[in-house]
């Protein structure tokens, strides 16, 4: 039994993927070099661009880890044939931790509160326990938390990858139970880690602003876009013939349903966040949306409403759309692009806001003339592209490398037959 199964272990062959790994590596190297040059020429812009690209990769990996945890916690069986892709994407977390270091070093250029002296802003002083900045950097608690988040993400992703690959060799069903029991304990840590990461590195961009829905908002985007990524990867492998007789249109149907569900979930959360802030009408909260509805930024806000929600919603609402790989692929492209724009919309306006506040001295002075900051404009920069190509290229190359190491699906998972014979 083991003799034959060893012979037939289906593995991803990078040689058959043509120029794809080289393309990823080339784009990644060029992009990262460009970003490095950017840090020398325009450090502020480079810091913001890099944060954007990094958070994009981070959300995709964290979302994949979420799907792995969910699969085990609810004892699902349909996921088995595509689970290895999720494990491999989440398994990139150690590299992601390395890519996080530039964010740490450039943080004082991004987060205003790190350079504000204690005692000058009463609202910041109240948050000083949590945002312990003020010495042109942040304190032990701030970075200690980040260490914990990454320790958890790296540990969880590595453990799941390890156990799953170990099961390929011996087919021990005990490992399935072990991974399930681990998942129960890890889900609260996952929720805390992604929520506080979102607080620390995205919400803290504007230290006056706060939203209690922020964590779940970032999570919704992560889960949605990582499902889209899973559909893209698994269908690409299916087309290349790696999943013949294993993955069927039924898997596309079920992943399409989840993508649709999380499209609605993202819209629900995003609207709820906006709606509560709109209704309560507290200045510290409303500025976030006010800035993002100033000048050309409001076009991006509108694009998000239609492109992040309505377009995928309409593309995916019918049953044939979820079963047809080509239509599903387009919807995934839309979701992945819109998630990128969503993060752009979160991060980039803050650079211009910071600059305007420095020039005018205070928010009141900056908005005295017209009621909003007039210098706010959608201003794409070449460094945005460099950082994105750099981070996504390197991660893509690492993913393909890691995919080639083990079987392309968990060949001896006890639930594999159930997953192969999936019927909706």
């Amino acid at each position: 039994m083991s003799e034959t199964s060893h012979k037939t272990i289906p593995k991803f062959d990078p040689a058959k993927a043509g120029n794809l790994p080289k393309l990823f590596l080339g784009a990644g190297a060029l992009g990262l070099l460009g970003t490095l040059a950017g840090f020398a020429v325009a450090p502020k812009q480079a810091a913001f661009s890099y944060l954007w690209a990094f958070v994009y990769a981070f959300t995709l990996c964290a979302g994949s880890l979420f799907w792995v945890l969910l699969h085990h916690a609810v004892d699902a069986d349909w996921t088995v044939v595509v689970r290895r892709f999720l494990e491999k994407v989440a398994g990139l977390f150690p590299y992601l931790a390395l890519l996080f270091l530039p964010v740490v070093f450039s943080a004082p250029m991004i987060y205003e509160w790190m350079t504000v002296d204690p005692g000058t802003d009463v609202l910041l002083d109240h948050k000083a326990v949590f945002l312990d900045g003020g010495r042109n950097g942040a304190g032990f608690f701030y970075y200690g938390r980040a260490f914990f988040y990454f320790a958890f993400f790296m540990g969880a992703a590595t453990l799941y990858k390890k156990f799953s690959v170990a099961q390929d060799a011996d087919g021990n069903p005990h490992l399935t139970n072990k991974m399930r029991h681990m998942a129960y304990g890890m889900i609260p840590f996952f929720a805390a880690s992604i929520t506080f990461f979102a607080f620390d590195y995205l919400m803290a961009l504007d230290y006056h602003w706060f939203s209690t829905m922020w964590g779940v908002y970032i999570f919704a985007g992560s889960a949605q876009s990582s499902m889209a990524l899973l559909i893209v990867i698994s269908n690409a492998c299916r087309r290349a013939g790696y999943l013949d007789g294993v993955m069927s249109v039924e898997h596309n149907h079920i992943m399409g349903k989840l993508l649709f569900a999380f499209t609605v979930f993202w819209a629900y959360i995003t609207f709820s966040q906006y709606f509560l802030i709109y209704y309560a009408n507290i200045p510290e909260e409303t500025w976030f949306f006010h800035h993002r509805n100033t000048n050309s930024w409001q076009w991006l806000s509108a694009v998000l409403v239609f492109g992040h929600f309505l377009l995928p919603f309409c593309l995916l609402i019918t049953q044939p759309a979820k079963r047809d790989g080509r239509r599903l692929f387009w919807a995934c492209g839309v979701v992945l692009t819109m998630h990128l724009l969503d993060l752009y919309w979160i991060i980039m306006p803050q650079k211009q806001i910071n600059e305007a506040l420095h020039a005018a001295g205070s928010l009141q002075a900056a908005v005295a003339k017209t009621g909003s900051i007039e210098s706010l404009h959608l201003a794409p920069h070449i460094l945005d592209l460099c950082s994105l190509l750099g981070v996504v290229g390197i991660m893509g190359w690492l993913f393909l490398k890691s995919l080639a190491q083990d079987a392309i699906y968990p060949v001896r998972d006890p639930r594999l037959p159930n997953s192969i014979n999936l019927k909706n």
């Binding site: 609207f271 906006y274 709606f275 709109y278 209704y279 009408n281 049953q319 019927k423």
Partner: protein, 214 residues
């Protein structure tokens, strides 16, 4: 094949031939099977034979039975969509007529000329943000009601009794037996051949089921 029964239309057959002194008119023929795999295989044969008005009754859901019976996708979702559209329309009218500041042309019926602008929390009249939760909730409510209503109507529920219950063995359908019932109004139904057909599929018991006596 030369039998006169099969030449008559299902309607005629129901009205004349099968009304007896003690029983109502013929409802159909029922067949009892003892396992899910048996009834699954039998359902595939019935589908391939071309029966249209027939059903499978099992004590628990059997996966893949839809395909085995040749049932297409359900039309229920159409009613759900109609429910959602109705809900949004009702919500729009409800909010618009009671809070918006508007002037309608004269040809619109008088009762729509409410124009009762209502200031809520200092927001603009008929602002879209506070309206969306109402659109959403009413859309969900109407979808649920339409879906339940259409589900009952398509299953011809509620009803007091069903002819199948006139067959004693059918009570086992909630226990450990599996049934196929082919109705007499099916175009391919034949009083003589269909029971034999069902027996050939491995049915344990085959019996004519009659409706209640009128």
């Amino acid at each position: 094949m030369g039998d006169t029964d099969t030449r008559k239309s299902p309607k005629q057959r129901r009205d004349t031939d099968t009304m007896t002194e003690t029983q109502g008119r013929l409802f159909g023929v029922g067949a009892e099977f003892s396992s899910a795999s048996q009834v699954y295989a039998a359902a595939e044969k019935c589908r391939d034979h071309g029966f249209k008005r027939w059903d499978v009754h099992t004590p628990f859901p059997v996966h893949g039975m839809d395909d085995a019976m040749g049932l297409g996708p359900s039309r229920l979702s159409f009613f759900s969509l109609m429910g959602a559209c109705t809900g949004v329309t009702v919500a729009f009218l409800l909010i618009f007529l009671t809070t918006a500041d508007y002037k309608l042309p004269d040809w619109v019926p008088m009762w729509l000329h409410q124009n009762y602008p209502l200031i809520v929390n200092g927001k603009p009249f008929f602002a879209f943000e506070p309206s969306i939760p109402i659109f959403f909730e009413l859309a969900i409510l109407c979808t649920a009601l339409f879906t339940i209503g259409a589900l009952l109507a398509m299953n011809m529920l509620p009803r007091w009794n069903h002819p199948c219950f006139n067959w004693d063995r059918f009570a086992k359908v909630t226990d450990d037996k599996f049934f196929i019932v082919i109705e007499a109004c099916d175009p391919k139904f034949s009083e003589l051949e269909t029971p034999d057909f069902l027996k050939s599929l491995g049915a344990g018991a085959v019996e004519m089921i009659h409706e209640d006596k009128e």
